[in-house]
């Protein structure tokens, strides 16, 4: 089931005008910004489908940039996000594409600075709920059946055991798990679907592990 909470339906509290095109976009931006972990020098955003056709009218542009800077869906600074980004030295580029995507509301967010680049593809499926379908070139196939933990880490022995060990200690059951990497010894990704609610403490504990670069949670 894609929607698990009544607050996906009665909520989110948000700055208008569109839950899918404004709040959903902010959440895609938030996810990108959180996983990048610092202020980018460049944010290159590509809109597809309905996002490409209507992004200016829906404030999709300001919402996604606000999200990248950490503004949540209800943050009243969202309408001014492009000006604020300029003040913070973030160069913002928007591109529209008529490439066919699986979902009409699709955005690709590419972030970079002198230390590296990061890219996610997000879809906004309605009512402010989003899914991330691709992360740094890794396809993500989350069933949406439960909250999912996404961990970017160094491809090194013990990383997977360390993360799953923490989950086990907190008595959190794994429903589905995927691991992928581009190249041996470089960046790798774990996507772990969990049956239960995940607390911030567990997240912080995983983030402190030496092999871990970034951790985020989806579907909460």
């Amino acid at each position: 089931m894609k929607y698990r909470s009544v607050f996906d339906i009665i909520g989110p509290v948000m700055v208008g005008p569109s839950s899918s095109h404004t709040a959903g976009a902010a959440r895609i931006g938030l996810m990108a910004g959180k996983l990048f972990g610092r202020t980018p020098r460049l944010a290159h955003i590509t809109f597809y489908g309905s996002f490409a056709d209507t992004y200016r009218g829906h404030g999709t542009d300001v919402a996604i940039v606000g999200g990248i800077m950490g503004f949540d869906t209800f943050d009243l600074r969202i309408p001014q996000a492009l000006d604020i980004a300029k003040q913070r030295g973030i160069e913002v580029v928007f591109e529209t594409s008529d490439a066919l995507t699986d979902h009409p509301n699709t955005a690709r967010v590419h972030l970079e600075d002198e230390d590296g680049t990061f890219e996610i593809v997000g879809i906004s499926i309605g009512g402010g709920t989003i899914e991330i379908t691709e992360l740094n070139g890794f396809p993500l196939k989350l069933s949406g059946g439960g909250p999912a933990l996404v961990v970017l880490h160094h491809d090194r022995f013990g990383a997977i055991a360390a993360v799953t060990g923490i989950l086990a200690r907190h008595e959190l059951n794994i429903g589905h798990m995927e691991v992928s990497r581009h190249e041996k010894g470089k960046q790798a990704l774990m996507a772990i679907e969990i049956d239960e609610h995940l607390s911030k403490d567990v997240l912080a504990e995983i983030e402190r592990l030496p092999q871990i670069e970034r951790v985020a949670i989806f579907g909460e």
């Binding site: 929607y3 009544v6 339906i9 700055v15 208008g16 899918s20 489908g49 499926i125």
Partner: protein, 295 residues
């Protein structure tokens, strides 16, 4: 988790509890939270809804100027005592319009189930609360009942205009409100399902064709009519009228219609009202000549 309206109604009926309670219990379970916390979260959403309506009644205009101040006009008209449709329905209309005017002005609202359809549920709630003598607890329950029906629609069909047209947004919101009114009025869970079915049946096929791609025209007025539709559907169910097509099948039909609907009518601003000469002129005035003109 309940997967259908049938299952939701059966659970509530067998246990002798309202639909809102089934929703609260499920949320507490999914969140591994407490009842107090879950109810408290919904109370905060209710406060956002109240603030939005209060702001609208002071008068608000969108950035483009396409929408605004109609909630004030309607409220003044009700006060004049000349209304034909009845004050309660028009009060819902005024407050549904108001919420969506605030939304269009990039103000803060609570999506129910989406921002474009955020007026129907709070608009009807604030209109019926005095007549039904609803206290704070009953108002919060209203939102849980609405949410329970929206939850089934979101998982079995869609609540996205881009995926299913306006029937998925204002249509869903209208059904949700109708079901919640029935519970607040003391109707049975079965009657809530009937009210939802009647309301959504009359929204089937509604396309999403926003002028210039903005959540303004016709969204604000569709929320108004959604509010009116919800109250009438609730009254029909409370009168004992039933729906020949069961609620879950109406939801499936909505989903099927959404999938058959051309992309031009699903939040792309390519067809319908968005493609009228006036809409194209408004679009050029707002955005200039460059974009969206060749479509």
């Amino acid at each position: 988790m309940f997967k259908s309206v049938e299952e939701l109604v059966r659970t509530a009926t067998e246990r002798g509890i309202p639909i809102s309670e089934v929703m609260i219990e499920q949320e507490v379970h999914v969140r591994r939270s407490t009842r107090e916390e879950v109810v408290g979260m919904m109370e905060r959403n209710l406060e956002v809804m109240e603030e939005a309506v209060a702001r609208a009644l002071e008068g608000v205009t969108s950035v483009t100027g396409l929408t605004g101040n109609d909630a004030v006009l309607m409220t003044d008209y009700i006060r004049s005592g000349k209304s034909l449709a009845g004050d309660l329905i028009l009060d819902a209309v005024a407050k549904a319009i108001g919420t969506n005017e605030v939304n269009a002005a990039m103000g803060r609202i609570c999506a129910t189930p989406t921002a474009g359809s955020a007026g129907v549920v709070p608009g009807t709630l604030f209109a019926v609360k005095e007549r039904l003598e609803m206290d704070r607890d009953a108002m919060v329950r209203y939102l849980f009942t609405s949410g329970a029906f929206g939850f089934v629609v979101a998982n079995n069909a869609s609540i996205s205009g881009a995926a299913g047209g306006c029937q998925a947004e204002v249509g869903s919101a209208t059904g949700m409100a109708a079901a919640a009114i029935v519970e607040a009025a003391g109707g049975t869970p079965e009657q809530s399902a009937t009210a939802f079915a009647i309301a959504l049946k009359n929204m089937l096929g509604l396309v999403c064709d926003p002028v210039a791609g903005l959540v303004e025209v016709p969204c604000v007025k569709r929320n108004a009519m959604g509010g009116a539709n919800a109250i009438v559907a609730a009254d029909m169910a409370l009168a004992g009228i039933t729906s020949r097509i069961p609620c879950d099948e109406v939801i499936s039909a909505m989903h099927e219609i959404g999938q058959m609907m051309p992309t031009a009518l699903k939040e792309t601003a390519r067809g319908g009202l968005a493609n009228t000469p006036t809409a194209r002129r408004l679009e050029r005035n707002i955005f200039g000549e460059k974009e969206n003109v060749q479509k």
